[in-house]
Structure formats: structure tokens, C-alpha cells
Symmetry: C2
Subunit: 752 residues, 2 copies
């Protein structure tokens, strides 16, 4: 413990000097097998410059790779935060309290430093408690936490009563392991460097040790040989001459490690003859890019190419300009008739709770969504060879989608007037730390039209009505190694919620001996596209499965209705028409009834209705899930990764509410066999009519890389909507006022 | 002729007084069977207040229904426009010249007033001529026009050489009729009012004649009884107490008219017992809405409901703030590396030509798209009963998609800094008129991220790179009676073009005796949803078929490649994986090879490549078509409307370039039988490999109305992309500079 204490002292020194370095990897160094890793309260303030043998390139690289340094304002302290809402995440104080309780809990008390906290988060009160709580009138319900802890090779799930101090064991999953801690994700990268065979191999590839960068890669589950110990694979890259080491794989080199003992189990090196792809044209940092002639051969000056000329406008002048977004008590967002609770979560990333929308007729807030979040991701790569077959990531359950969310970049990730929320997370030693600016919230005007109507000369009525579309966006970005997932929840004034996933960042590429396509054999399966000399972009899929705990006008009385559209032929003589499209409503009785594989030629609408609530003319009030473009997994259902990712077998599932069914791939996803997924739960085929329902939707992407994905990958997005269907008596947009010149801010341009 | 002359005089009087009324229907009145209708040069300036027996309600209503009046600036005169680019549309002067030539052309010269101009537009020069033309260096190629004229019941297609004055007949389609003129669309609505039987029927429905508003409805083609004469159906509504007469149908009343003789052929009245739905809650005008207590029962004040609180921000301060959009010579748009020609078209609405994108490596502009536009729309309603079966609109070929485009509403349809383009169209008498502010062009920042990457603590590199997404939008909105189609072409700096269709406006509804669902019989097929008392929203589809004349890096050497993704099982022992997704390229040899029906579980990418141009590492340069959410027609292929709309049988078609194949439903769509559609052309199965290709894509929507579509329908959008695929050597976004605080305008808020 004295080790971490001295580092804490260092941190405060650094704070005092206002010399703030963003996460410097050496501070995360985990001495082999002893004590917990050190993390700081403020992620922006971790300091320390000592190099060790386990950080062979980090320190040297740090000088080159850090962004332009300037004094930063002191990051916000959350030490005095208190919870104000039943769903507020654990505070710094509460985390520290929970940590103390865990460390005092037998058997951990015997050796608290052997206890690793993989997860420590609010144990949300039961739904009825939350629903009946009234701000100002009621005290907060008792605060409880739930922890996932590993101690001497065993995983524990524990309920913690923060008031009474009671720590109660809960059943733990039979297979799989908890989400990796951030600390071990960081430190395991360095573990191979202590292995002489690894060093020799790297040198055989002609890479200096000081240029090696490694990544921890979850290995899925491929049979009994990989059971009964926590394993990880490490693959490495050359960071020589570029920040974009992802483009320079040491192809074929895979190190199998025991995560607990840090023992190198096996080094596989299949990359003989495959050169490290060149660094030229790979660096993406703007500052670096403008210094060097990256293209090499162009003669036209870059400023003439027009790309720099375009200025990103600000969208609006700032929060002082109008009511905009109200952020109440730190987590409650009010805007445009909407009210919801918003928080960071280490595993899900961002959680939207109790989303309620105001009825324009009555003014009352009506329940729509009790809780919505990304539950799991599944990212299978499509290369069955030794160094690639196992890449079938589950980014939420294996890596922690929230843990990977870095601070957003103001003006570029979010517009000028955005408001930011921080996350408070827990390090492996149980200590809290702050992830600054993890979520942003902003009012969005994209130049779109919410509704408009003109009368044409046909009717001659002089009507030109138009209402601009203004929405509210809550955004988080998770940077899971190379990929950046931009997660947006967008709320419209007409009650629609659009959930959007953007994929950005950098491709995971494969080294190849080829520098031109003509070198490949005819019909050779390269599993991807040759993007540049010696670089193949490997085909892969992304699936993001959302858990949407719908409470349409109340929790307990929801049903799932498929409104199927099909061709109806007319009877002879009935009509000059032979056919028309007929809609038929099917209420799903049980879970299997509600499993949907989308088909263009077998279309349907997907409603969650409250059959006990009807509109004036008798329609059940509802919300519908509206898919947009998506992709479906084509893997063999019996393929091990697809069994683990079986929650992607359908695009839509509906389950009865069950507090324990939050994670589509299971609570312990790491090395799981797929025994505890949404697909297995749903096999029970429980009744789902007129109940508290949870709707699941999977958004998919196929990605065949192309040269435009080199050396960076532009954002590709897809989305789906939750849209009111007979929820309102008539359209809420009727209340929206058209914009007039007087409404707009007065702006003057600055020099560009 | 004296009639129209006196009206023209009136118009200029009105202009002088700066008392400008937007289109007043009575000015479009067409006295039965004589002379041409009168239209003005400036659509905003049409004045006149005389009421006639053919405009029974327009004049009275006009007082109530016109927008807030204030003096407007004089609309732009286009009288002195000259063409500056080979693709520039006909100017006012050229239209007048063409008109004189047509009126002097035998046989029309015998009775020029019997000549009706249905279309008069630029006959674009042949592609090689346009491609080789250099601004400044070359004179404009000879200006030619093509006209579609009806004269004494016969349709003529004529080529007009504006320099020599030669008028040359071209072959006219064997079946179908040309697009209706705007003048007849307007005037035919009033035709039934001269029929005593019609008036009696309306009175039987309890509607005052002064409250009747009627619409001209194209009737498709349903067999030989409807051949050999131009027919139209008229249906009517009560405008009593609302501007939103669409919500008050006189259900079941259909008048069949001869379009040429204006004779009422048949009145069908099946609406016995169906009341006119009430006017309450239907008016959508903001001014009216705020005056009346529309909801009736709410007690909360509306200002508390939060809907008015939201201000639409301006997005950016204005064109002075930065380079923004360059609009050169009136029609050439330059922005962010893009250059393209943009124009209004009476039939297609908006046409994008010669879209070229700058290569960030060489600075050269490279060809992408020679011409892109909405070619046809198909909107079948799904009710086979007498008053509804025929509603299977083709909005471009029947009504003229550009003719229906009304002036955009500044600040609401387009942001403050938008630039506007006018359209110059031709009235039935051949005279030009100006459709002001028909297209807007603006730079868009929607708060999105073009590319970003952060390194997480896993690698410890202090990297936070992010580039906001700024795009350019060209927008037009066609108001085809009740529906408003928002058409966006959005250009990204990374070479992607997104084509987006938004549906807004008002539903076409059906009257019903029911005021509550419980009154319907069990499983009764109402063909839609009960939206309000006596109002059913009828199920319908929308299909928009785009013609995309791709010229990827040149016109003559393009091929269409399907990159098919399918499951590949591994051999036993090959891999711990059982399966992966394998991509296989298929070059389409002939048209049928390129007909695509999309399937989620049979996915593919759709590339147009130039096989003669390769990237450095050997990939053929290309653009891919990326569908997003869409819908497919389920009608029986042998159903008459589906035969006419057979161009929707596939989502994707590829044809060899053929100048005459521009309109997917045929040149003469009105009452056509489907003998001359994209589907029939493509039956010839012509070779399409390594040729000049045209790509066709159909975007579809199924619409089951819900109460949120009453009394107005919020915008629903879908889109597809044209996206570079191995077109660039690497990603153009590398050149984009991140935004800094200094880049942004200085704004101060005004009172809200």
C-alpha cells in the first residue's frame, strides 16, 4: 500500500503545479503479481515519469505522441457530490465507503490487497420504488451497491448496503469471467516484455523493442483447452514513425498469457516473410500532418485543395442564448417536453433512465422508457487463420464500454454550447476516479425540417408553413483500442427518440507480403482488401445490442404487437385493382412469438403498446421500434463466437422484465460459452402479454474495408427510432412556433 | 388573347403597389375551352381579385387563408439572364424565343392559341460535348430545346434549334399522355362546379358550395374503358373552418372528367352516411393555432408545455463568416472539394450534373456523377374501393415534381445563411414564369463527427483527434397537393454524397362513419387507421426512383460489381472457427445481371467501378451505392398500377447510357399502361460491362398512418449514399483541420 500512497502524493504535487499530463501509461504499471494497480481520482492528473522495464516504449513515445500542451483548468472535483436521485450513480464518497466495506468483508479482510474490483456500481432500487419517489417530498431510497470482485482466483458478486454496511453474497455465474479491469488491460500489454522468447521474436521481425506497442485481445471461447483460467492474447505493432501503430502490425505474432499469473503460455509467430507495413502516410495527427509532406507526390498546395477552407460552424451561440438544455441535479435532463435521467456506466457507457415526454394536450409527463442502454457489442472478424480467428470481441462485457470512453473533445466532438457530464468509475483497487467530459448534451439544429406544408397553385391557398427540427442529443464516445464508437441518443419534440451508433477511429489491419493486388493468386481469399503496401483491411461485422426497458404509459401493462404488412389479392370483380397491402395486428403471447428477423419483402411495424390505455378514438397507445439500415450475422449458429453472440440471432427480442437480465451476452462474458445470453433466457418462452416488457434491438454493420478507410476510418453511422404510435391524440409539432429573424442570435464572424 | 393581356397589366399594377399576394387561384382560372391560361412571369406577383363562377370558394377563402401580409422586396427579374454553362436551363429569353418558333411552326401556326405547352426545357448537348467544354476557352455549344406540345388532341415532341430556328418533330410515345400542365391542374378543379348534378351532390353532403375545395387526381390506367381520351378524377373536401381541408373529405364523391373537353363524364357518390369529419383540431397554421384553444380541454398553459421554449438556432452567422458556398454563374456550386452544376427542372424537380470531387492527393477534379435526379415517384394507396383504388400517383410524370415546388420558407425550410436558386418554368401558353427560391444551398453542421480517434489508457498515448462533419446541402421541396417531399443532396468532404427524401405535409384521409374503433366490425379491413372522429388515414407506399448517370473517373469505362457477402464454412481442422463471412466480386455482364432485390441475409455491396483505373495497390476505383432503410412494393406484379410502376420491382437496376431513357415510368406517364418503363427497357438485357452506365435506385416507404399523423404529418426521412470505394488512395479527411475557438463566430443572443 505504501507504493500507491506515494503515487497519490505525486498526483497532488502534479495538480498543484498545474502541469497536467493525460494518462501516462507508466503510471498504470502493475508490478508483476503484487498489489493493486494505482489509479488516480482525476484521470487528467495522473503524473509520474519513471520508466521501468515493463514500459519499454511508453515513456519515450510519450514525448512524441502527446498533444499540444497548455495549462488546463483544474478538473472538477466530485469529492463532495451527493446523490440526489434514486438512480444517481455511486458518488466518490459512496465508492470509498463501499471499498472499505469490501476490504473489511471476510474473506477479503485477510488480504485486502488481493481483492480486485472488476465492477462496483449502484444497485438500482426496484422499479416501483423509483417510480413512486417524488423529488423534494421523499427521502432517497436506501443506497445500495453491487460489486463484482475477484479474490484469489474466484469471482464474487456482492450486494452492499451502504447505510447498514451489510455485504451480502449473491450467486455468481457458473462460467465466464467478469469484465477486465482497466488496470489489467493496461498492464497486461507490458507483461510479454519480461519474456526473453518474446523479445527475441520481436527482434527477428526487425522491430526495436522501444518501438513496440501491444494490445490486449480478448480471445473468445473455442473449446475446453482454454477453460479454467483467465487468458488473454497480446498482439503487437511497431510505433516507429507514426502515432498510428495500428497500421503497422507485427503480423502473425500472438502471445497467449495467463491474466492472473501474467505467465506467457505460448508465443505463436506465423508472420514469417510478412514485412511491417511502412509508416509513410499513416500518421493522422493534424499538427504532424501539416508539418510533413505526407502525400509525397502532390504538387498542388494543400490549402488550394479546399479541405481546410471549410469552417465548422458553431450551430448556436451558447447556453446564454435561450432556455436550451436544463441539467437538473447533475443528471436530470429537461428539454423540449422531455425529461430523463442520464448517467455514465462503466460497462454500458451511457444510460438513459425514466425518459418521459410531456403530453401537449394535458401537460403531464408520460412514461416511455424506464431504462435504455447499449447492453452488449459483438465484433467478429472474418479471418479464420491462427492470428485472427479469435477476434470476436464483446466490447461492453469484456472491456467495459464506459471504461473506454475518453474525455470528449470540445468544439469537435460536440458543438460549442454543449454541456458535459463526468463519469465516476472504480479502479481495480476499489478507489474512485473521474472520467472528465465523458458525456455531452446539446441542442441540435441540423438544418432539417420537422414539419412543413405549402399549398401549391392547385388549391391556390397562400400557405407556407414550416417548422425547423430542433433536437436534443446526448453523446458518448467509447474508444475501444482502434475503434471509436459514437453513441447518440437524440430526442425530438414530437416524441421520437433516435438511437444512433457511429463507427469511427482506425481499422484493425493485417500485415501481408503483398504490395500490389497482382501479387495475389487468382481468387485468393485474403479476408479483406489490400489498402496500402503490406496492409490488408480485414472484413468484420459490428453488432450493438440495445436493451430498452419500455414502460409505455406505465410499467406493468405493455404488450408487443407486430403489425404485419402483406399483399392482399382482391376477389374477382371486387375492384379494378388486383392487390393491395393489408396490415394485420399480431399480439405476441410469448417470447418466441416476438423474435424478429427483418425482411424487406415481409415487412412489419413493431409496437410496444399499453392495451389498457386507449386514445379518444380507441387506438392503444404505443411506441414503435423503427429499424433503419442494419446488417445481420451470417455466421454458423453453431460456431463458438456466434453461440456467445447468439443475442444477434434476431434483430428484435422481447423479454418480460427481469432485473438480472441486463447484459445480452451474460453477466460474465469474458471466455463465456454462450450459456447465459438473451437467446438462452428467451428459450424459456415466457409469457409477455400485458406485462412489464424489455425490448431488445441489434443494430448491425458489415464492413468490407476500402482504401478510404486508410489510414483512418471516417465515421459510418446507423440508427433506429423509438417513435410514438397513437401515443398522442394528435401531432405535438402543432405547438411549435416558426422561427423568425428576431429569434436568432446576432453573430459576427472572426477571421478564418 | 386580350383576356390575358389585361391580366398582365393588372399584374404590373400590383407589382407597382408592392401589394403582393402569393398565388391567388382565381388568376389561374381557365375559361372553359378557350384560350390558354394566364400565368405571370413572377409567381409571387400574380394578382387579381375577380371572382368567377368557377372559383366558388377560392376568393372568400383567400382572405382567411393567406399568411400574414407584409411588403415584400421585388422578386428577382430573370429577364436578362444569359446561359453561361452548356447545362444551364432555358432562360426567359430562350423560352420566349422557343415559344415564337413553336407558334410559327406548322400546323400550330394555324391556331397558336390551341397549342398547349406541356414541357419546354433545354435539350442538353451530347455528353462528349459537355465534357470537352472549357469555361472561358470555348463558346457555349448550340442551344437547343425540346418541347412536348399538345395540339387539337395530339401530342408532339419537338426539337428546337434556338439559333437556326429549326423545329424538328421527334417520335412521340405510342401510349400515355404528357405531364399535366400546371394551368390545367389548377383549372380542372373548378370544372365540376358548372355541372348541376355535381352541385346537387355536394349539397346533399351538407357542404356549402363556397366551402368546397377540390383536387385533381390522376387515375392511372385500369383497362381499355379508360383509353383514348385524357381523363382525370376530381375529389372534393370541405374547407369550412380550417385551412386543412384534407382532413375533411366529402368521402366517396368522385367526378370523372375529360381533361380536354372539361366534360363531366361520371359522378360517383358512394359516401352515403359518411359525415364530413369535424374541423376541430385540424388547423395547423401557427397564427391560428395560438389564437384558438385547439386542444379544448387542457388546463395547463401551453407556454408551460415547453414546446415553444425551444428556439431553432441559426447554425452559423451567415455567408460573410467564411468561404462557405461558392455559387458561380448562377448554377455551379463549389464547396469543400466538390464542384457541380445545379438546376431546377419542371419534371425532376432538382438536377445535379457533372458532380466532380477534388482528389486531395493531386488537386485534380475527378468525375463522379454526370447527372443525378429523381426520375419518377410512385405512390400507391392501399384501398381497393371505388373512390380510392385508382390513387396510384406518379408525381413526377403526371404532376411535374418541379412544377409543384413552391418557394422555400427562409429560416424554417433552410437555415439563415442559405443561398437560393430560382426556377424558370413554362406555362401552358409557352410563356416563362419564375418560381422564386425554389432551391436552397447551405453549409451544414449538425454536431456530427466526420472522424475521431482517442487512445484509451490501454496504449497510454495522449491522443484526442476529432474532426467535425461539415457538409453541403442542396434542397428542394415539392408540395404535391397534400404531401411535401423534401429532397436533399448532401455532399461530404470525404467524397460521400447522401441523397435524402423527407416526407412531410398532410395525409390524404378517408371519411368514415366511425367515431370510435369499437364501432368497427371485428377484423374489418378499414385500409388504415382511425385517426380522429370520422377520419381514416389510409395505408400507402411511396417510392422515389433516382436516375444516377455515373461517370466514375470517366464516362465510357464503368462496370457494375456486386460484392456478395456469404457464409463460408471452414474445412474440418482448418480453424477453431466454423465459419466466417467471405466477400466475392461479381462483375455484371448484362442488365439482368444487375437487377437487385435487397435481402438482409443475402447482403452485398454495389460498386460502380472504372476497371481501367486502378489505385496504387491495384484496386479498381469506384463509387458504391449504399442503401439505408427502404421498403419494397408488395403489389401483384400483374396489378395494373404495379405494371406502370414496374421500375420499383427491383431496388437497383443498371442500364447502358441512353439519352432517351431518363424517366423510369416512360416519357408519357399519364394513363400509360407500363409499356415504356425502366423494366421494359431492361428486359432487352443489354451488355453493361465497361460502358457508360446509368444506375437506378428506388427508395421506398410503407406508411401505416397513426394519430401522430393527424392533423399534420411530421417529416419521415430515408436516404441512400454514393460513397467512394477505393476511389481515393487514402482518406481525404486527413486534410481537415480541427476546429479551434478562434474559428467560431462571436454571437450574442437576442431576446427569445
Amino acid at each position: 500500500m505504501d507504493h500507491s500512497t506515494s503515487l497519490l502524493r505525486l498526483i497532488f504535487l502534479a495538480l498543484g503545479a498545474a502541469l497536467v499530463l493525460l494518462i501516462v501509461r507508466s503510471a498504470f504499471r502493475l508490478p508483476r503479481g503484487i498489489d493493486t494497480p494505482t489509479t488516480s481520482l482525476f484521470d487528467d492528473a495522473t503524473a509520474g515519469s519513471s520508466c521501468t522495464r515493463f514500459a519499454p516504449w511508453g515513456c519515450r513515445q510519450a514525448d512524441r505522441i502527446k498533444q499540444e500542451q497548455k495549462p488546463k483548468p483544474e478538473p472538477p472535483s466530485h469529492e463532495n457530490d451527493v446523490p440526489l436521485h434514486p438512480l444517481d450513480p455511486l458518488t466518490v464518497t459512496e465508492i470509498n465507503r463501499a471499498r472499505e466495506l469490501l476490504r473489511a468483508h471476510p474473506p477479503f479482510a485477510s488480504s485486502p490487497s488481493s481483492m480486485f474490483v472488476h465492477s462496483l456500481a449502484l444497485d438500482e432500487p426496484d422499479k416501483p420504488v423509483v417510480l413512486s419517489w417524488r423529488k423534494g417530498a421523499d427521502p432517497l431510497p436506501p443506497r445500495r451497491a453491487v460489486a463484482v470482485v475477484r479474490f484469489r482466483g474466484e469471482a464474487f458478486v456482492l450486494a452492499i448496503d451502504l447505510a447498514s454496511g451489510a455485504v451480502t453474497p449473491l450467486p455468481a455465474p457458473a462460467s465466464g469471467y467478469p469484465t477486465m479491469t482497466m488496470d489489467e488491460q493496461v498492464s497486461l500489454c507490458y507483461a510479454p516484455f519480461s519474456d526473453p522468447a518474446f523479445n527475441a521474436t520481436v527482434q527477428r521481425h526487425g522491430v526495436r523493442m522501444s518501438d513496440v506497442a501491444c494490445l490486449p485481445i480478448s480471445l473468445g471461447w473455442y473449446g475446453p483447452t482454454e477453460e479454467n483460467r483467465r487468458l488473454i492474447k497480446i498482439q503487437c505493432f511497431s510505433a516507429e514513425g507514426t502515432a498510428n501503430f495500428y497500421m503497422r502490425p507485427i503480423e502473425g505474432l500472438t502471445v497467449l498469457l495467463d491474466m492472473d499469473t501474467r505467465e506467457v503460455i505460448r508465443i505463436s509467430d506465423r508472420g514469417g516473410g510478412i514485412p511491417i507495413p511502412p509508416a509513410a502516410n499513416t500518421d493522422y495527427r493534424y499538427a504532424r500532418h501539416m508539418q510533413e509532406d505526407v502525400g509525397g507526390d502532390q504538387t498542388t498546395s494543400r490549402s488550394e485543395a479546399g479541405f481546410q477552407k471549410v469552417r465548422a460552424p458553431s450551430m448556436e451561440p451558447g447556453p446564454s442564448s435561450g432556455p436550451g438544455v436544463e441539467l437538473v441535479d447533475g443528471h436530470t435532463v429537461r428539454w423540449g417536453g422531455w425529461e430523463f435521467h442520464l448517467k455514465a456506466d462503466a460497462r454500458a457507457g451511457m444510460v438513459v433512465s425514466r425518459a418521459r415526454v410531456q403530453d401537449p394536450g394535458t401537460g403531464a409527463h408520460r412514461e416511455v422508457l424506464y431504462k435504455g442502454m447499449a447492453s452488449e457489442l459483438f465484433v467478429p472478424y472474418m479471418d479464420p487463420t491462427e492470428a485472427w480467428y479469435f477476434k470476436t470481441y464483446m466490447d461492453a462485457g469484456e472491456y467495459g464500454f464506459g471504461l473506454q470512453a475518453m474525455p470528449l473533445v470540445p468544439l469537435n466532438d460536440c458543438p460549442r454550447h454543449a454541456r458535459y457530464l463526468d463519469g465516476v468509475f472504480v479502479a481495480a483497487d476499489g478507489r474512485p476516479y473521474v472520467r472528465e467530459k465523458m458525456i455531452c448534451v446539446f441542442e441540435r439544429y441540423a438544418g432539417e425540417v420537422a414539419w412543413r406544408h405549402s399549398e401549391s397553385p392547385i388549391t391556390g391557398m397562400d400557405i407556407r408553413e414550416s417548422r425547423p427540427k430542433v433536437t436534443l442529443v446526448a453523446r458518448m464516445v467509447a474508444s475501444v483500442a482502434n475503434y471509436d464508437y459514437i453513441m447518440d441518443w437524440e430526442f425530438q419534440m414530437d416524441g421520437l427518440v433516435r438511437i444512433k451508433v457511429g463507427l469511427s477511429g482506425i481499422l484493425m489491419v493485417k500485415g501481408t507480403a503483398y504490395s500490389h493486388l497482382r501479387e495475389a493468386r487468382e481468387n485468393e481469399d485474403t479476408h479483406g482488401t489490400l489498402l496500402s503496401e503490406n496492409v490488408i483491411g480485414v472484413i468484420h461485422d459490428h453488432y450493438v445490442t440495445f436493451r430498452l426497458d419500455m414502460d409505455v404509459d406505465g410499467a406493468d401493462n405493455n404488450s408487443f404487437v407486430r403489425v404485419e404488412m402483406a399483399r392482399q389479392e382482391t376477389a374477382p370483380g371486387e375492384s379494378p385493382r388486383r392487390s393491395y397491402l393489408k396490415a394485420t395486428r399480431h399480439v405476441a403471447r410469448t417470447e418466441k412469438d416476438a423474435q424478429v428477423r427483418l425482411k424487406l419483402y415481409d415487412p412489419a411495424e413493431f409496437h410496444v403498446v399499453n392495451p389498457t390505455k386507449k386514445t379518444r378514438v380507441g387506438n392503444p397507445v404505443g411506441y414503435k421500434l423503427v429499424p433503419a439500415g442494419t446488417a445481420a450475422s451470417l455466421l454458423d449458429p453453431e460456431d463458438p463466437p456466434q453461440k456467445r453472440g447468439a443475442f444477434t440471432n434476431n434483430q428484435i427480442w422481447v423479454t418480460p422484465y427481469n432485473k438480472s437480465e441486463e447484459w445480452a451476452g451474460g453477466l460474465f462474458v469474458y471466455q463465456s460459452k454462450g450459456e447465459d445470453t438473451l437467446a438462452t433466457w428467451s428459450e424459456r418462452d415466457r409469457p409477455i402479454e400485458n406485462k412489464d416488457l424489455v425490448l431488445w434491438y441489434t443494430l448491425g454493420f458489415h464492413h468490407i474495408p476500402c482504401q478510404e478507410d486508410f489510414p483512418i476510418m471516417p465515421t459510418v453511422s446507423s440508427s433506429f427510432d423509438l417513435k410514438p404510435v397513437n401515443f398522442f391524440e394528435s401531432n405535438p409539432i402543432l405547438k411549435q412556433r416558426p422561427t423568425k429573424e428576431d429569434d436568432l442570435p446576432i453573430c459576427s464572424a472572426t477571421a478564418v
